[in-house]
Structure formats: structure tokens, C-alpha cells
Amino acid sequence: MTTSNKKNPYRGMFLTWLVLTIAGVIVSIYAPSRLMPRSMSDNMHLTVLTMIVFSVAAAPVAAGIYAFAIHALRHWTHKGEAVPAAGPVVRENAVVVTTWLLVSTLLTVFLLIWGLGALAVDNGSSSKNPLVVDVTGQQWVWSFSYPGTHVQSNELYLPVGREVEFRVTSDDITHGFWIANMGVQVDANAGTWTTIHTTPNQLGTFDIRCTQFCGLNHAFMVTQGHVVTAQQFTTWLDSQPQRA
């Protein structure tokens, strides 16, 4: 099949790619923060940013595949029942293969460097004096205690702006501790502790859901958390019944 454009048969494909890439980049920039839960911590901010960067990087690649598919379907298909004549014989093309490998490797290296950097920030503990919260999962409730205070609660209270270290464990089987607004998730394993850090930076209420299948009421293993001011947090701690 011949293409309609006499000058450059691939101009249409390029334009399709350009339009799709621009559309993809716009969606990549605007969508993540609107589709994901409201960011309430530094981790979540980093997660959304990484989503945007990866989406922008992926947009031209995906657009290329779709531009090719659209072009092939428009210009390179054979209609009718008769057997098509043979296409051009191209068995090898060293330049194309090398370029393809080079570009995909560079993209991968970029993603990797960004990812490792983000991971270092994500794992880093900036504060020498984080608030420690012990999180315990059991079928099918969460409980939170604050070491040094004898306070135990089924709802989580956190002061804004102070780094938190969650020490997570389980009384029975494995659960998954996840704050969707803060981008922190770690399993609660019986007999051992796992830790995860975050710094809440927005006041408000959030849900804590179990992300590791834990049996009958897995879907209902939900509780609420609250980010409050340091003042309110102290007041709340003092108002709780003290457990020995």
C-alpha cells in the first residue's frame, strides 16, 4: 500500500506520535495528584512526584507504539481475500537495533537513578528524635501504642511536622499496614518487627487499610488516623486511659 503523502511517508506517524506524546505528558502531569489520595506526608509527595516523572518518561515510548500501530493499520494492511504479495525483505538492521538498545538502556538507567535517589530519600531518617508508634495487627483490628506513655488506641493520632517511626508487628498472621495518604506500607509479621518512617505534613483524617490478605474480614480491617497539631496531640495523649 502506498501512503498518501508524497514527501515523507512517515510524517503522519510522526505527527500522531507528537500529538499522543503531548497528550500523554499533559495527563502525566495532571492526573497522578488528582487520582491518588490527598498527600499528607513527605513520602506521599515524593511518590506522586515519581509517578509524574515516570509517566512523562513513558509517554513518548507508549505514544511511539500506538503511533506505529495506527500507522500500520492505516497504511500497511492488505485488504481482500487474496494472499498478499511479499513485503520488503528486511532481516537485519544493525543501526536500528543498536539505537533501540541504546535508547531503552538510557531510559532504564534514568528510571533507575531516579528510583535509587527517591529510595534513599524515602528511607532516610532526618530526625534524631522521631515519635515512635508501635502498630499491632490482629484479625481484624489495628492497635497503636506509644512507647513511654502506656497509651493504647484503636485510632492513630499523629502530630503534624514530626517524623514518625512505625514499628509494626502482628499478634497472629501477616497483615499489611498501609496509610494511603502517606505512601507508607509495610507488612505486620508475627514474631518480628518491621519499621517504616514518614513525616505527616498536613492536618486531617485518613484511613488505614490492611493490604495483606488476612482472612474472613480482611476487607473490614480498616481504622482511622488523625494528623493533629502538637498541642492537640499532647492533649489527646493525656486524655487517654493509662494502661499499666
Binding site: 532481516r91 531510559l107 508475627a190 490478605f213
Partner: protein
């Protein structure tokens, strides 16, 4: 090189009687049930009923009885037993086993003809996909509105486990089973597989495993997901024992099939069929088989350990006895990630074949295709811990596993290069296989890009364990592998039946499935992004709309699959006749008559070039 002579019948007279010649699937089921009862009876009466593992021990005994009885009933042990007694099979016996002069009855028997086994695999794949699909519909119906309405929560939890395993088993065999058996030996120029009896064994062992797996639904209490999460699996009821034994039996089947495929390709190629002249699908089949030989022993091991924890009080995975669920997760994903590529590679390789034939061009950069598949297989054994980023196991290994995981995108990119290069400026023949191939291309890029997000630990810390992951791997398995499998089915269907798969029905099925996949899984991505965890039987109101859309899309996929099933059944005897080489392709399976006679070739062909010489001077006759 075309073989025109029908295979001459040497034993025209019907073969004599004897119990061994009356065995079929019915006797296998009877044997299985009888032995299961016998083992249950013995275990029930002779084991210590006061042991807290009593019910598990009885269940495991029963399942062992089932598979032994099933093997005896189908006749899997006849030939080895006769050999042991010094009364080896005669040539007539072997021809009988190969299904000579038995018409349709051979499809229900322990038949050694690789083409019969291929057709049996087609049927098995459809049965498994159908059962898994019904469970998927039950799951989506339960999730159509918030709250628990249609399915009991405990039953629902069992459904997600059995749906998962059924679909995984179905897709492991979906391309490699039918076409690895039906066309690979002919593509190599062989009269059959290297070990025809093992071929039948692999198929019937799969049937036995599927029987066990479907039984688990009746036994119930399967709160552990298809990955058999520990230590919760240790709490599960006796259904867990059936489930784990089904996996162990299944790994026997895949191991036998994998060894057979590799040996066939390495030793049974005809004269002149060098490795560099092999059709690319053969490469895909053996690379996937080799990867399976690495991966599936872990599967058997981890389920065997689960069973031992439950029956003999070992504590591999139970924290109170010094074990850890992390060990289970490691062993499981050492299998679980390579298994994705055991599933994917045959489908991709079949699409390379289809792209070349339909675009009337050689496979672009054949060696890059092999390098990509080999590279992917190699990398896939080094990435398992990305399934464990949020488990808390070895956080310091996060960086290295992120590296290996992201490297996966390089060989995956080569698949796109080979497909695009092959189709580039071709005369693309828009038939059913081609249409499903384009569906694969459109879906596989979404599967790939969303995989990149999940390989990144900061993002994974947000999205792991959510519906985003579920949507991602359904784009891989439904959007990509299933589309590739249907393309392969439409492509080789005329070779099996002599008739085309109905084009019109196939296109309706395509559009229903293609739009259905986008509706179902794009909305599922949204559920995950908004914060809905996986394996939920109910959900909060904020996930209401996206879940409703997902369920509507799932019904569309099911409707598409039903149309496809109708097309497969009605076209089998009534489709448009196709002749021996409907696509005017060059590989050997199209050079033999349709349907290929027993032992395929009257005279073995001699090969002088690869099968991709479209547009080059030499055209085969």
C-alpha cells in the same frame, strides 16, 4: 517437500481386546475415586484420630490416592509395568497407544500422538479458563456494589484463591500446551515428541491436578490467596491440603512436558534443521520450557513444605515454631516471577511467527528475538524479591532488586522491536490472528509501563497490595497473554481442523474482549490509585463507581469469550474449509496434509533454509 501420501494403514484389522485397551477418561475417574476412597479409608482407620493433624493427614492421603488411581485408571503405568515384567509393548501396541484407527475415541484416552495431546490441551485450556472465568464473574458480581450480597465472605475468599490458580495453570498451558505439542514436533520435522508416552502423562497429570483443584471448591475454607500466604495458610481448613497437592501434581505435569519439549527440539530435528533455521516459535517454546524446569521445582517445594507444616508439625513457615512467612514468600516468588515469563514467552514467540506470516516478511532480527527471550528468561530468575518490597524482608536488598527488575524493560523492549520491525512496511493480512496480535501490542505496552511504576520502591510502597497491582498483572495475563493465545489459536486452528475459525464471530469476540479489557482494568487501576487494597470482598463508598465500571467491563470480556467459544465449537466441523496451508506460510507444519497424518511425514524432509524467505528468490513448493 510436501508430503502428499496419506499415512498408509498397516494394521487394518482392529486390535484385540484386553483391559488396557478399554481405558479412557471414565476409567481414570473411576480409578481416581476408588483409590481416593481406599486411601481415605485406610488413613481414616489407621491414623491416630487424636492427632491435631488428623484431618490434614487424611486429606493428603486421599489426594495421593486420587492421583495414583487416576494414573492407573487412564493406563499411564501400563507400559512401564509391562516392561518391568519383560513383556514390552509390541509395535502394534505402540500404534494402538498412538490412537491408530480409533477416531474421536482417542481424544479421551492415554494417547501418545502429539497432535491428539495438542487437541487435548486445547480442550483442557478452555475448561480451566472457563472455570476460572466463572469464578471471575462471581468475584466481579460480588464487587458490583459495596457490601456483601451475593457470595458468602468465606466462599469469596476461596474463589479468589481458586480463580488465581486456575487461571495461572490455564495460561501456563494455553500456548505451550496446544501448540508446543501440536506444531513444535512438525516444525522440527519430527514424527512425534521424543517421549510420546511422557507427553500423554503430562496431559493426564494436568487433568488429575485440575480435578483436585476443582474439588477444593467443594471442600472450601481457602483463606490464603493463590500464592498460599503463610502463616495464614496454616490456619486454613483441609481445602488447603487439596490445593497444595493440586500444585504438586501440576508441577509433575509441567516438568515432564518441559523435559519432553526440550529433548524433542534438541534431538528430533530433521536433516538440515539447524538451530538457526528453527521457526522462532520453537525457540520460544524451549526457552519457556527450560525456564519452567528452573522455576516449578520451587512451586512443588513450597507447597510440599506447606503440607508438611500442616501434617507433620514442621515449622518452615510458622513463627511460633521458629519459621517465617518470609521463607514461604521467597520460595514462592522464586517460582512466581519466572512463571510469568513461562506464560508470556510462548505467546510472544507465536506472535513473532504470526507477524512474519501475515506481513509476508521475514522475522526482523531473528537473533535479537532469541536474545530478547533468553535475556528475559535469565533476568526473570533474579527479580523475585520485588514481590516482597513491602513485606519488610531485607530492606537493604531493595536497591539491587529494583535494578534487576527495571533491566527487564530492555529485553521486553526488544520484543516490541522485533514485532514492529517485522510488521514495518509489510503487506499485513488482516485476518483474525493479526487482529488479536494488534490487540496484544496495544495492551502489552500498558502492562509494561504500569510494571515500571511498581518496580520503583517509593511507588510500590504506595501501590503494592492494591488493585493497581491486580490491574497491572491482568493487563499482562488477559490483555497480553490471552490475546496472544487467541491469535495463536486462530492461526493454527485451520491446521488442526482443516477449517478457519469463523472470522466474523472472532472479530465480535475481539472487540468485546478488547474494549472489555480497557473498561475492566483501566477502572481497576483507578480503584487502586484511589486506595483500594486487593482481595477485598467489600469496599468503601469512595470506590463505588470504579468497581461498578470494572464489573461491567468484566461481563464484556466474558461475553467476548463466550462468542469465541461458540466460534471454536461451530467452526470445528462447519467452518470454511482452509486447505493444508491457508496462510501460505513456509514452516513445516503447513507442508503436511491437514489434518496431519499419524507420524506426520511419509518421508522426512531435508531443510536448506529458514522458513522466512518471503520475497526472496527461493520459494518452497
Amino acid at each position: 517437500m510436501t508430503t502428499t501420501l496419506e499415512h498408509t494403514t498397516t494394521d487394518a484389522a482392529p486390535l484385540g481386546g484386553g483391559l488396557a485397551r478399554r481405558q479412557n477418561m471414565a476409567t481414570a475417574l473411576v480409578g481416581g475415586v476408588l483409590f481416593a476412597w481406599l486411601f481415605w479409608f485406610l488413613a481414616h482407620h489407621f491414623l491416630d484420630a487424636s492427632s491435631r493433624n488428623y484431618s490434614d493427614l487424611v486429606s493428603v492421603s486421599l489426594t495421593i490416592g486420587w492421583i495414583i488411581g487416576f494414573w492407573l485408571g487412564i493406563g499411564a503405568l501400563n507400559a512401564p509395568a509391562r516392561w518391568m515384567m519383560g513383556r514390552d509393548n509390541t509395535h502394534a501396541d505402540d500404534m494402538y497407544l498412538a490412537g491408530q484407527n480409533q477416531g474421536k475415541a482417542r481424544y479421551w484416552k492415554y494417547c501418545t500422538d502429539h497432535k491428539v495431546v495438542g487437541v487435548q490441551y486445547i480442550i483442557m485450556t478452555m475448561v480451566l479458563l472457563g472455570a476460572g472465568g466463572i469464578l471471575a464473574m462471581a468475584i466481579r458480581t460480588e464487587l458490583i456494589v459495596p457490601g456483601n450480597h451475593f457470595v458468602d465472605q468465606q466462599v469469596y475468599n476461596g474463589f479468589i484463591a481458586v480463580h488465581g490458580l486456575l487461571m495461572i495453570l490455564a495460561l501456563i498451558v494455553a500456548v505451550a500446551g496446544p501448540w508446543g505439542n501440536f506444531v513444535v514436533p512438525i516444525m522440527c520435522g519430527a514424527r512425534d515428541m521424543a517421549f510420546p508416552r511422557l507427553n500423554a502423562l503430562s496431559l493426564w497429570t494436568l487433568v488429575g491436578a485440575a480435578g483436585l483443584l476443582l474439588t477444593t471448591l467443594a471442600v472450601g475454607s481457602l483463606s490464603m490467596g493463590w500464592v498460599v500466604l503463610e502463616p495464614i495458610a496454616n490456619q486454613a481448613g483441609v481445602g488447603m491440603d487439596f490445593f497444595a497437592m493440586a500444585v504438586v501434581v501440576f508441577t509433575v505435569s509441567t516438568t515432564v512436558a518441559g523435559v519432553n519439549t526440550i529433548c524433542t527440539v534438541l534431538t528430533m530435528r530433521t536433516k538440515g534443521m539447524t538451530l538457526a533455521r528453527l521457526p522462532i516459535f520453537v525457540w520460544g517454546a524451549i526457552i519457556a520450557a527450560a525456564l519452567g524446569l528452573y522455576a516449578f521445582p520451587y512451586f512443588a517445594l513450597v507447597e510440599a513444605q506447606t503440607i508438611m507444616d500442616r501434617t507433620f508439625n514442621t515449622s518452615f513457615f510458622v513463627a511460633s515454631g521458629g519459621g517465617t512467612g518470609w521463607l514461604q514468600a521467597n520460595l514462592f516468588w522464586l517460582m512466581g516471577h519466572p512463571e510469568v515469563y513461562v506464560i508470556l514467552l510462548p505467546a510472544v514467540a507465536a506472535l513473532f511467527e504470526i507477524a512474519s506470516v501475515m506481513a509476508r516478511k521475514p522475522v526482523f532480527s531473528y537473533r535479537t528475538a532469541i536474545a530478547g527471550m533468553t535475556g528475559l528468561a535469565g533476568l526473570s530468575i533474579l527479580v523475585w524479591a520485588h514481590h516482597m518490597f513491602t513485606t519488610g524482608w531485607a530492606p537493604t536488598l531493595g536497591g539491587p532488586f529494583m535494578l534487576t527488575t527495571e533491566l527487564i524493560s530492555i529485553p521486553t523492549g526488544l520484543f516490541f522491536l522485533v514485532l514492529i520491525g517485522t510488521l514495518w512496511r509489510g503487506n499485513i493480512w488482516m485476518k483474525l490472528p493479526t487482529i488479536w496480535m494488534f490487540g496484544f501490542i496495544a495492551n502489552f505496552i500498558i502492562a509494561g509501563v504500569t510494571g515500571i511504576y511498581l518496580s520503583d520502591i517509593p511507588i510500590d510502597n504506595q501501590l503494592h497490595g492494591t488493585m493497581f497491582v491486580t490491574a497491572h498483572f491482568h493487563y499482562v495475563f488477559v490483555g497480553s497473554v490471552l490475546f496472544g493465545a487467541v491469535a495463536a489459536l486462530a492461526f493454527w486452528y485451520p491446521k488442526v481442523t482443516g477449517r478457519f475459525l469463523n472470522e466474523f464471530q472472532g472479530r465480535i469476540a475481539f472487540w468485546l474482549a478488547f474494549i472489555g479489557v480497557q473498561v475492566t482494568f483501566l477502572s481497576m487501576f483507578l480503584s487502586g490509585l484511589r486506595g483500594m487494597p486487593r482481595r477485598y470482598s467489600s469496599y468503601a463508598l469512595i470506590f463505588e463507581h470504579t468497581n461498578f465500571i470494572t464489573t461491567v467491563g468484566a461481563y464484556m470480556i466474558m461475553a467476548g469469550m463466550l462468542v469465541l467459544l461458540g466460534a471454536v465449537i461451530t467452526s470445528w466441523n462447519k467452518g470454511e474449509p482452509a486447505g493444508p496451508n491457508p496462510w501460505h506460510a513456509n514452516s513445516l507444519e503447513w507442508m503436511v496434509p491437514t489434518p496431519p497424518p499419524l507420524e506426520n511425514f511419509t518421508v522426512l524432509p531435508v531443510i536448506t533454509e529458514d522458513p522466512y524467505n518471503y520475497g526472496e528468490e527461493l520459494v518452497r513448493s
